[in-house]
């Protein structure tokens, strides 16, 4: 016997909204959060735009200044989203049994604070200007913030959330790049279904908008170098797409067993019914062109949900705006949905917020839940020039009101890790 798992709360910090409701309103309105990067000087650099979170005040969520000092940007976003999710679920007043309450977070690479490391490196140069390990030991390392490790360890998002909400149950951090938070939600689903917890906070938090990461992604040739107006650069499925745009933020969901949600009279937003993941080895940044792994992840999630492709009303696409992903995803959906492929609307919110990497899947899952609740699916903006290789219904440019009972939410990772979730309208 496995327990049914429902969604009862959500919180988010996004480039186009500082809380989940603002994010959802902007997203349905087709409002982009992508602008010229302001947090550091990008003049003269080929990539100048990103989905930065602006005007976010972490102090609203973390009262202890000492805690704030050891929280990198991604940790701050994650902690804020988790707190809003707990409030939204009505769990702030009535906390769950701590031992039956866990946290799973998709998170990312060590954010590299170049200002801090830079000072340490510069203080370690010898007379010839070469990096000297001995000088690092003598003095260079003193330039580092003594607790820098804590600021940057990826498991610290989940650790801080567990401390702030006294969540003593299963606690995990998944780091499979673009699929990380979809896998984190999938794992929380499994933990609840098998009875190892009553409530899970699950989602993702990430920030890679820093000079070093921007250079690295540019070198990989994966981010767009287009010189368009910033809000026009991310254009999934459009013929003129030429790479993704980095975004940052966090989305956290409260997942709960149905029995627990009912016992406390919670508002049930949707039911998680399936999760699947797969791997396809291919190029370092290139998906397998036939989308074998993508098909397999979607197929497994649907099978797990005992759901036929006919029942899927909407697909929250991975849709990164790279030439290869969007074509592959289209091919994969056609392979799986066959005749019905053109009649299932799908859209990519990455057109508005960019690619949040470790948090992308959680954002897209949140959108899936809210689409079910509100009967509206968000658009893919900037879809101006149809691509003959991308010939499905991507909900171009304008949101669509429609009954949404069942959503498939896709994440296909850089490096071959794929994952998908199925979420449905809750029927008691």
């Amino acid at each position: 016997m496995t327990a049914r798992v429902v969604v009862t709360g959500y919180g988010a910090v996004a480039p186009n909204g500082l809380d989940a409701d603002a994010f959802w309103k902007s997203t349905v309105e087709g409002k982009s959060g992508i602008e010229t990067i302001r947090s550091f000087d990008v003049s003269g650099f080929p990539v100048r735009v990103a989905g930065e979170v602006r005007g976010f005040d972490a102090k609203k969520f973390v009262s202890n200044p000492k805690s704030l000092k050891v929280m990198g940007k991604n940790i701050r976003f994650g902690v804020a989203a988790a707190q809003m999710a707990m409030e939204n679920a009505g769990l702030r007043e009535r906390a769950p049994d701590p031992t039956r309450f866990g946290v799973t977070v998709g998170s990312g690479i060590v954010p590299t604070d170049v200002e801090e490391i830079g000072a340490a490196v510069m203080a370690s140069l010898d007379e010839q200007g070469r990096f000297d390990v001995r000088r690092f030991g003598e003095g260079g390392q003193k330039q580092l913030f003594p607790l820098w490790l804590l600021k940057h360890l990826p498991n610290m998002v989940a650790a801080h959330i567990s401390i702030l909400h006294n969540a003593q149950g299963p606690n995990n951090t998944i780091t499979t790049a673009c699929s990380a938070s979809t896998q984190a939600i999938g794992e929380a689903f499994r933990i609840l279904a098998r009875g190892d917890a009553d409530v899970m906070l699950a989602g993702g938090a990430d920030s890679r908008i820093d000079p070093l990461s921007l250079v690295a992604y540019t070198l990989l040739g994966a981010v767009s170098t287009a010189s368009r107006p910033p809000e026009k650069v991310s254009r999934p499925f459009d013929r003129a797409r030429d790479g993704f745009v980095l975004g940052e933020g966090a989305a956290m969901l409260v997942l709960e067993t149905e029995a627990h949600a009912r016992s406390r009279g919670a508002t049930i937003l949707a039911e998680v019914t399936g999760y699947g993941s797969s791997f396809d080895a291919y190029g370092i940044t290139k998906p397998e062109p036939e989308g074998r792994g993508a098909v397999q992840a979607m197929e497994r999630a649907l099978k797990d949900a005992r759901t036929a492709t006919d029942e899927v009303d909407y697909i929250s696409a991975h849709g990164t705006s790279t030439v290869l992903n969007d074509k592959m995803e289209t091919v994969a959906i056609k392979a799986l949905f066959r005749d019905r492929a053109r009649r299932v609307p799908l859209s990519s919110i990455k057109s508005m917020i960019g690619h949040l990497i470790g948090a992308a899947g959680a954002m897209e899952f949140l959108v899936s839940v809210l689409a079910i609740r509100d009967g509206v699916v968000p658009p893919t903006i900037n879809l101006d020039t149809p691509d003959p290789d991308c010939d499905l219904d991507y909900v171009p440019n304008t949101a669509r009101a429609m009954k949404v009972r069942c959503v498939l939410s896709n994440s296909f990772g850089f490096g071959g890790q794929n994952a998908a979730l199925v979420v449905r309208e809750f029927r008691g």
Binding site: E138, N155, A159, S162, N171, R194, T218
Partner: protein
Amino acid sequence: MTERRVVVTGLGLVTPLGTGVRRNWQRMLEGASGVGTITRFDVSTMGVRIAAEVRPLPRVPEDARTEWLGIHSRFALVAGREAWADSGLGDARPDPRRVGVFLGSGKGIIDIGWLVEPLKAAMRAGRLDYAELMRKGLGEWSGDRREQEDYHRSGGHLAAAVGAEGPNWVCITACAAGNHAIGEAYGAIRHGEVDAVLAGGTHSQIDLMSLSGYATLGALSPNNEEPEKASRPFDRKRDGFILGEGAGVLVLEEYGHARRRGARVRAELIGYGNTADAYRVTDPRPDGIGAENAMRLALASARLAPSDVQYINAHGTSTQQNDLMETEAIKRIFGPRGTAPPVSSTKSMIGHLIAAAGAVEAVACVRALEEQVLPPTINLEHPDPACDLDYVPNRPREAKLAHAMNNSFGFGGQNIVTIFRRFEG
């Protein structure tokens, strides 16, 4: 529906004691130490100058194909290939979609040498010109290399090496990650998602930045004079852990799947517990409630009473706090010395492999069950009145054991416990 059982059909190790399970087990029973002065970079001015290094670094076929391979991927490939070959699963041609990879994995090492030239070019009157840094970086750095250092690459490389197309999952719950991967793989096999998983952990943090970071936190033993004596779990003179590196990988398989192909079953995995301290990001709960609850959950899921466990492979890091907290938690469940089973820490020999630690220790549990012998805690010379269990001091010991428990408690408060059973059909 009958319950799906999970068995171990393959093992692989690379640790500071050597490459391969056979070599490692032999050296563990000898009570050998893999700790020494760091050779990988000049540590003459560092406060802590010791670690347990893998020497020489193993080479893998991927070296010929990849511009750069992260050290975490390298270790995972070596231990993973050994486990895969040991299991014989490749010859049985399993459905690749039903074979997964679950790893606790660190990223590759944190290197800062590549920053030097761009930084020099971009430093103007003590201030960093980001635009210049990035322009220079574009000419000097390798995006491929940075990407290859990312956490999830280890899981990808291992899956590609053996053709595993099922779920591919990489976690980092600090020091608990390897054991965590084993526990979640156990869940995935029982749930029916997969028939077999390469599960374990891989990590190295023996780099300048990490060494400096952990030393600043006061977590490392500064015993530079006697490196092989520095890791001394449960000893009164313990003063911090020793960074180790390497990987441990197990092939976990659904029992019916293993039986049908006539596989050699090495042990059965029967219990898993997962909790968080929710206390502090730097310290374990002094009351050890999180650790205790993880052990209790694992016992309950294995349907065992405490008296059924004959050996505990401790987290035993050699820090004052962990070893005391762990001892207290064990005593609350298993009773005092005499009633509680023997406990040992293989970290005394190989140091702390962080994300790989729990996986290497799981392999040690399986070997202990197979050979009916307990690996020792070396350097236990000064009994600590507060740590008063039987830690199998300094010499291995023959024992009759049916069940072994593997404890892993992560920095940040994640507690993972697994339980293995001697396999007798």
